[in-house]
Symmetry: C2
Amino acid sequence: MTKKKNDFVKEITPMEEDFPRWYTDVILKNELVDYSPVKGFMVIRPYGYALWEKIQEYADARFKETGHKNMYFPLLIPESLLNKEKEHVEGFAPEVAWVTHGGSEKLGERLCVRPTSETIICQMYSKWLNSYRELPYLYNQWCSVVRWEKSTRPFLRTSEFLWQEGHTLHETAEEAQEETLQMLNIYKELAEELLAMPVVIGQKSESEKFAGAASTYTMEALMHDGQALQAGTSHNLGQHFTKAFEIKFQGRDGKEHNPYHTSWGISTRLIGGLIMVHGDNRGLVLPPRIAPVQVVIIPIAQKKPGVLEKADELYEKLKDKGIRVEVDDNPKESPGWKFNQYEMKGYPIRVEMGPRDIENNQAIIVRRDTLEKEVISLENFDSSTAEKLEEMQADMLKKALKHREDNTHIMEDYEEYKNKPEIRKGFAKAMWCGCAECEAKLKEDTGATIRCIPFEQEELSDKCHFCGKEAKHMVYIARAY
Amino acid sequence: MTKKKNDFVKEITPMEEDFPRWYTDVILKNELVDYSPVKGFMVIRPYGYALWEKIQEYADARFKETGHKNMYFPLLIPESLLNKEKEHVEGFAPEVAWVTHGGSEKLGERLCVRPTSETIICQMYSKWLNSYRELPYLYNQWCSVVRWEKSTRPFLRTSEFLWQEGHTLHETAEEAQEETLQMLNIYKELAEELLAMPVVIGQKSESEKFAGAASTYTMEALMHDGQALQAGTSHNLGQHFTKAFEIKFQGRDGKEHNPYHTSWGISTRLIGGLIMVHGDNRGLVLPPRIAPVQVVIIPIAQKKPGVLEKADELYEKLKDKGIRVEVDDNPKESPGWKFNQYEMKGYPIRVEMGPRDIENNQAIIVRRDTLEKEVISLENFDSSTAEKLEEMQADMLKKALKHREDNTHIMEDYEEYKNKPEIRKGFAKAMWCGCAECEAKLKEDTGATIRCIPFEQEELSDKCHFCGKEAKHMVYIARAY
Ligand SMILES: [Zn+2]
Ligand SMILES: [Zn+2]
């Protein structure tokens, strides 16, 4: 019965063969997640949730450092509130879940389960705000949201997901824009520093922006299979909501004004990105900073005198150094089985140590990303291990960046791009006139979309790749999750 | 417009005059919470949420220390799952919110917004569990739950609240009972160490236990007005759910068994308790360990040379000591106004320091609980302040304990208790035969209920106070929130 797990290691579909199945194998066999009895809703299991906790820890500290505080707003939003901002309701109404009964009574007005909280938060802000002296409002909420999705995939697109949503108000348009970009930059740092996941940052096109936003900024990452993932967004909402919800303050001039507004969010989707950027055919590969366990010590020939004692000694040493470490001294499984198991789980470093090693005052370290073995002296073992972890973190970012660069092409000719699916893998940089027609055509022809207008512009040509008219922007194009 | 806040300080209704209004004044004027557009749902504002974060931090660390890990289960539960455990559905069905539509489509089966997650979690556990080797299952979830309430009061009883729910499985009945009591003890320590809120722990009567539990254990605190608050519960669920949901494992004997099951929870209700145990007519009084800000420094005559510099120096010194400290150097408000403001907000210690004090190398410290002023040398000011905070934490627990003892009476005669409302304030200890009729009669006659059968039993008499038959237990009785 319990032997099921034994076979998992060998049961991951190679990614070259079937990438979606590889992904599903990795998340299910590592028990990151499971399907729930409600279609499209997922259970996040302890190993998956531990990754989310690390993301929360990093992000929450950065939010607080930059002056934000957390709040909690109600889960249920009256239909009439959702209807207040026209573009917003059009964007979200088709995908919300509706509560119609409380206990045995039918409700007078339907309530939706929040798909995002701009409306309820703006309603409260309009009640609270009086004077420019109280601005900026810098608040955030950690919660779950529900968006009824037809086709779902754990972490990447589910009908319920965990996220944070920041909602801020500012006296001036400039301050709101500054906040929008500040938070996008924090997201970029989180992606690169914590997840070792390089991202391109830039602005969304009109058609791809958030329902109700003045402008939406995004970070886009490239997955192993050459598809892009929108990994976090930050919206400058201008005065769209603050006018619709009549949020007003007395300004320095003694007159009434509507404040400027931002919102920004990252979600459990990041975990999907993490897996698809770093994973390989043996399973997960976790960057050390986010790994719930960074080092596993596997004693070899553990029945021999002194082996377990030495393993425990190493454990204590690494723990004292602040390294998240475990010893696996389960006598029922072989070292070889354990190696496979922890490779599948993506533990960054495994330490092998048997009687011979102890004699020589050494241990063997195997890095999960390179699978290279190295003999390390037990002298200063804690410092050597800490260094290895930092090296590995940096190398993983470099490797992912190289993968992105190798898979970022400059569009030569649109007809060629359209007709050769093999060159549509990865990002393509192209010039765009800025019109919605060219954007729609691209999507229809190829399934790829404009991921963003990157902040770092290059002038590849002065003509739009799609219509030949004058080009306005360079854009990143890709098929996306 | 902004002057509104100015008046708040004087606007708290004295608690002797109207305790519920005092409570409402304290929570609204301190901006802990606000009413939302949906009746019975509350917004937790930053100052209130910061209290919840401290509770989470303490509890989560204790859960992990004792081997528990966090997960996340879906918000929505199919009606058919809720129906699987008979007592459970009878207990919860009348108060759940029902989702009937996803997007524009009517659902085939209604989904309830989780009122608690036993059912969905058991469904998943039945899928996951194979062998006794995998036990115990020690998992917890932080989330919000919805229970449609007719009459609500912020923090104490709302249609949505934040909580944690632990859900564990064990091989034996003994282990499940041990876990149930271990978690109750952690709750008691949280209440007493962090919130300085003394609690009585014991077992709930049959009629008051959780829907579906074998036995429910509770901690009960006494509020300022003499009413009790159920502040946390831990349930031994026996095999009720594991049988209903067919959770099975292969035991050491090679045969199939149903595991034993516990669940336990604390919620944002604790914040209501915190307020009603310690608050006074000036507002909140926060025990130092949970206070988001522990010390506020208020410079006096701050325009005089050197005052602000000295205040900043103190600030840095306290901060380096790990004390959560703020300086209020707002030139637009007077020190007197500030004193009132921070007393209302319940900041544990305020430091006053003017040119004279600086000359004498001293500052004045005022403790929020006693309002006593003390002159403290600036020599070792950080250590003196840290000591004061710890003293205050201990004194607040002592004071609350004394209040409880002063308001815990031994029931002499039931008729007297019934007829004199004034002696029904506080806890009454009474002897009980254990029958449901006596319990129901007490409730009908007096509005008071059996809060618990405490672990610390005393034999006050050998007869039931209500029917005169043989007594089985001493119980704590009170009117409760
Ligand atoms: Zn064009
Ligand atoms: Zn009786």
